[in-house]
Symmetry: C2
Subunit: 406 residues, 2 copies
């Protein structure tokens, strides 16, 4: 009796559960493992033996789960100690897996999770254990190397773009309008903020300025730009990534930095309010609104991209095929392919160790010369990722969701 | 050649344009007026002669407009001076209407707009002018008297409830979760916050506490409640209306009150951050997130309630029939009817002067004894208003919207 286990790690996305459902479906098709277990709360939960059986979940519940946002198996931000420091946790984890006759371990996550996959794969090989460790990509930040994009990103970008169109219209209704600042996530990279270039009304971009962490933020130039645009249009719409930095590399919102997470990442927030204050202080306008989308952008399944959901599902499906083919220590990566000019994707394997602790930045060629917007040519990258609306289940006039993390 | 004019006023909603389209459709059906004009930016725009012709807009564009959020004819927060003080503006406005052979004036708005309708109707009658003034209700706040509910409210409530389900799941994924505070609009009334009682997962309410302006906020009790619930569940989800007050009637967020609008209403914001600070100070948890939905809740057409859109459309349609029947100084009001237990609505007329400057509060019988939640029985009021998803037009994978306020 051979089994497998899947777990989720890091920040949730709208489509991370779709990958779990894809994997379960693949196992039904290939009849590879007797039982698909789930570790609740990632490796942290597995170490606590918080493990459930997903093999008996009904097709109906699986379909609901496919369209449920958040890490429905629970999550963690647990970093295994470096192998050189201590192997205790690794031994404990592998003992638990062996007890359950686990032959494949799937981890849905970002670069930190790929680090976990790489370490576990390495250690288990060194100990001649026949357990395959396979990574399934997930992050709204779109910052994983090698893969064209990451599941979760398209849905977040779609919500951001939809919200931009709607808040742009809402904030343009008076004779005297003001300045609107939308803050997106993106600690190190500007993918989410940059996607805002896709938001158009009657073929025209609605966003005046986009600021990303890849380009040093210049406060003086910012004030000049906003002043000039407000004078011309009587309104300005600004999109800013939470992680923008000045030329010395310091986070613009650094004084709002309240804590660090377990990986030592600064927890940011509040850059839009900071920009709002700069504008107010400069006397450009007294009508300045700042909106921080916060976690909405990563969980708004009701506004997800259907292509993103299907790609997440297929990445999970593919991961099981990797296990079937004996691959170990790899992540499923996405390749973009155009067939007769139509966007489609293929999958390929990449060593998790290469993805781990690496960051894929927004190409600076996509940023305009002034450093305050994204070029038109970038839209063709973002646009196909926003395609299609999800077939949500409804109950009592609201989306029906279910999770397995209680 | 007789014509009519329609304009919008006050804060935008997702469905305010649907009412305009309903009125245009009724005029096509009844062939009542030669031209349907629109005043851009409400009475303020009409006084500036910013008037456009809507009669030649194509059916396709009208359909897009029906599903476009925000005040697509522009808006204003312009208050006409009391008649006793000066009739100058009234005379100017009526002269402009006479010039265009206007026989009916339709105003889509809330209680301040109904005040405008009442005043204009009174003054034009006194001056023996044959112009009918008719109000079409609109406000996400749901605070208009006599009508069962207001167009715009259902869609806002649906977005709030959907967002609650999604953020609840997102903020429940770790072993150690925190406290989540969602702030809704609602300066004087708690309808929007109260609607959160409809948010359920597997038949269970997800919101632990709901605070509304109709019940005095008690800080000591709040801390006790949150402490006890966090101890029991390791997480707490709180919904709060921006307008909650203490027992002396002072806004809890008063120190965050930055300005007043033209009607002397305090512009509020930040109560969720204030509650967050209270919780942090009390040492209950260090993980406390506050999310202010801001204008998202009133413009999220992508998550609107289809029944709300249709009711808004029908209210506009009905308004034209009022003009046809010679009614003057009335607002279209909604009556809830159950036919074979199925929710439906009928319309009836109510004097705009009765609605003007009045406020319909949330029934305090719906608030539980502890003053910190909404009773189950209220759900049957809210739930039918959330029904159905809109048939949005899409272009380049994003909703297609168009407006007439430029």
């Amino acid at each position: 009796m051979a089994n497998c286990i899947i777990a989720q790690s890091g920040g949730p996305t709208s489509v991370i559960n779709s990958s779990v459902v894809g994997l379960i479906k693949a196992n039904k098709d290939f009849k590879l493992y007797d039982t698909v277990y789930a570790g609740v709360n990632g490796v942290e939960g597995i170490l606590n033996k918080n493990i459930i059986n997903l093999s008996n979940v009904s097709d109906e519940d699986l379909n609901t789960f496919k369209y449920t946002p958040s890490s429905g198996l629970g999550s963690c931000r647990y970093k295994l100690k470096p192998l050189e420091e201590s192997t205790e946790e690794y031994d404990k984890l592998l003992d638990i897996l062996k007890e359950l006759n686990i032959e494949a371990f799937f981890y849905v996550g970002g670069n930190d999770s790929m680090d976990t996959i790489a370490k576990l794969s390495k250690y288990s090989k060194e100990n001649n254990l026949d357990i395959k460790f396979i990574g399934i990509p997930k992050t709204i930040d779109n910052d994983l190397m090698y893969t064209d994009h990451t599941p979760g990103f398209g849905s977040a970008a779609k919500f951001i773009n939809t919200t931009i169109l709607e808040t742009y219209l809402d904030s343009s209704v008076y004779i005297n309008n003001g300045i609107f600042i939308l803050e997106t996530m993106g600690r190190d990279t500007g993918w989410l903020a940059a996607s805002a270039c896709a938001a158009k009304l009657n073929g025209e971009s609605v966003v005046d300025f986009i600021y990303v962490p890849e380009v040093a933020f210049n406060k003086i130039k910012f004030i000049e730009d906003v002043r000039e645009r407000f004078k011309r249009n009587n309104k300005v719409y600004i999109v800013v990534s939470e992680g923008i930095r000045d030329s010395s590399g310091r986070f613009v919102s650094e004084f709002d930095c309240v804590s660090q997470d377990n990986f030592g990442h600064a927890q940011l927030g509040g850059v839009s309010n900071y920009l709002r204050q700069i504008i107010l202080d400069s006397g450009i306008s007294t009508r300045v609104k700042a909106l921080e989308l916060g976690i909405l952008q990563r969980c708004a399944m009701h506004c997800a991209s259907d292509i993103d959901i299907e790609e997440a599902y297929n990445a999970g499906y593919e991961a099981l095929k990797y296990a079937k083919d004996g691959k170990n220590g790899y992540m499923v990566a996405i390749k973009r392919v155009y067939k007769d000019s139509k966007y489609t994707t293929e999958f390929f394997e990449i060593e998790a160790s290469k993805v781990a602790n690496n960051v894929k930045y927004l190409p600076t060629e996509w940023v305009n010369e002034e450093g305050n917007n994204i070029k038109e040519e970038a839209i063709s990258y973002f646009n196909p990722l926003l395609n299609g609306n999800p077939s949500l289940c409804f109950e009592d006039n609201l989306p029906k969701y279910n999770v397995f993390n209680n």
